[in-house]
Amino acid sequence: MNSVALDTLENVFESGAWPSRERDWRAQALAKLQHEGFPTKRQEAWKYTDLSDLDETPWTTATVSEDAVPDVALLPDTDRVVYINGIFDAARSNLGELPAGVELNPEKLTAPAQAPVDAMSGLNIALARHGLYLHVPAGVALPRPLEILNLTSDGAGGGMHHVRHQIVLEQGASATLLDQSLSHEAAALSTQGWSIELAADAALNFTRLQDTAQTHKAVDRLHATVADGGELVANLLELGARPGRLDLHVTLDGERASAQVNSMLYAIGKSHVDHQIRIDHRAPNCVSRTQGRALAQDRGRVVLDALVHVAKGADGTDSEQQLASLLLTPGAEANVKPELEIYADDVACAHGSTIGRLDDDAEFYLRSRGLSRDEARALLTQSFVRPALRQIPAAFRATVKRHLETRLPGAAAMENFA
């Protein structure tokens, strides 16, 4: 295989000075990448998202310097862990006192729970230096929302960076997380890997907001397993990058586990955003809900694949999937695909997808009452995306709103956006 990138990655890896106990699994992960090469459009999962130009870039590791990092409006009353170019930044982080027994370590990487599932997760596992390790013991609720900021600095062009997080909530524990990926104009590549384990009756509300520049490539993956009675809410907002890609794989592993996945994608300008969502029902009486809202305008492109797989024996499964896309201007593209695979009995599964444009009659009705065209369109767009925004925790609403406003003309209309 002729790949500038793979050749240079070898050197990047060798110069990593990895602790010897990590070398084995890192080398294995790199081997996975070298063996498979970067994904190409010939692979089903990458049909619409092209990473082939990764091959041509002699990637280096982005380093931390004094150059500018994106502005972040800091939330009051949260704990905050900040990574800049993949490296923990203690000065910008903010960690208050946590309940006894909570372990929060922003620089701890453990051996991955499973071998990399594809080339890009191989890259992530091989090269991630830092990441959040969070362990919440049984019955403990994190007292404040926890923010994770994954920032790319201005000088990171041509560089790449990686972080890998591991979250464990023991029985009955709960937490609220906000993960934000932001960059300026740097042409960089970042990967983020998440491994989330929810024990019985644990509850996690996880919000992801990816709004990096259109010169940025963000290729992230999140795996979550949910045990009996556990509840995962995932709010996934994919707003920037080219591509901005997230593979989410949730396994409902114990009875009455539930997952609510709210995916909102908005491609504007030349950005390209892609969610690949898979929910596995592996135990009886689990519940899953997927709300997908995909918006595209200008030359933007959105891809949303959502699969619900109900394994043999997962009887009493209750699953709903609702995907919708909206093309705001000619030239934009959306590829939305709901999928359902059922191998169990007595299941209630509903799924559907729609593709549409803004309703001209509704737009005229609003304008006929004095709202400007922009306001009318913003209001209608807002009502379209709202079902995917309902479960964003109050603490993050202003942040999410600010990111949406920059894309929607007539932003004042977003006042009551959810």
């Binding site: 009705y365 709202l371 009502s383």
Partner: protein, 249 residues
């Protein structure tokens, strides 16, 4: 107030309005009647700026301004209101939010400050109560799940809040029960003043029993084929359209 001269309009190259002349003075009420498909809603659409029509000839002036040059929202805030024959359902946009935005657009255009939230809520409650609409509808989606009659009443609520100079009500009386017709008529009469004008597009004499028009026009085949006073409506009710449209042909 409104001056329509020789107005021709078409949709997809099909001529629908074929030379309308109509002048509406301040404080006047005009009823426009006519058979199905004669162009009444098209006239309302053209006046309010609904996209899709091509004006092939003629002019419309609204208080001296060239109406046809204005965007729909500019016409609105200049004081023109269209009560829709088929009000649109917009799930996910709340009535309250929508109407507050509309009221503020009109206020800003008049150089007034925006209304405060409490004042607005009091106004919309009052208007809804007057039309006997349940006030919890304030927070529902615009017309979402409203019955046909409720949608029509909601148009009048909107008119009450905006206080237009010229209201064109396209069959607002269709689909109303007898009590609702009275409420709607009261709503119109309550706004009547020497400065406000109305165009009532209707098929029924009954509305005109409650809201006395100054002029009645018959639109047929895209033209006004006859104009008269109140008595013309009664005559149409008795005799149908054949005698006027036949006369014109």
């Amino acid at each position: 107030m409104l001056e329509i001269k020789n107005l021709h309009a078409s949709v997809d190259d099909k001529a629908i309005l074929k030379g309308i002349d109509l002048t509406i003075g301040a404080g006047e009420i005009h009823a426009v009647m006519g058979p199905n498909g004669s162009g009444k809603s098209t006239l309302g659409g053209v006046l309010s700026g609904r996209p899709g029509y091509v004006i092939t000839e003629g002019s419309v002036h609204f208080n001296g301004k060239d109406l046809l040059e204005m965007e729909p929202e500019e016409r609105a805030v200049a004081g023109l209101f269209l009560g829709f024959q088929y009000p649109v359902e917009i799930p996910g946009v709340s009535n309250a939010y929508f109407m507050k935005a509309a009221v503020n657009a009109w206020r800003v255009a008049r150089g007034e400050p925006e209304i405060d939230a409490m004042g607005f809520l009091a106004d919309i409650r009052k208007a809804m109560e007057a039309l006997e609409l349940p006030t919890d509808m304030i927070h529902r989606g615009v017309n979402e799940g409203f019955s046909g009659g409720e949608k029509k009443r909601n148009e009048i609520v909107q008119m009450q809040l905006l206080k237009p100079k010229l209201s064109i009500l396209d069959e607002t009386d269709s689909g109303l029960d007898i009590d609702a017709l009275k409420l709607v008529s009261n709503g119109i009469n309550a706004l009547r003043s020497a400065e406000r004008s109305f165009v009532l597009i209707t098929h029924y004499q009954r509305l005109l029993d409650y809201v006395q028009p100054d002029h009645v026009h018959v639109l047929a085949g895209g033209r006004i084929v006859r104009s008269g006073g109140e008595e013309l409506a009664r005559e149409l009710e008795e005799r149908g359209y054949g005698w006027v449209t036949g006369e014109a042909a």
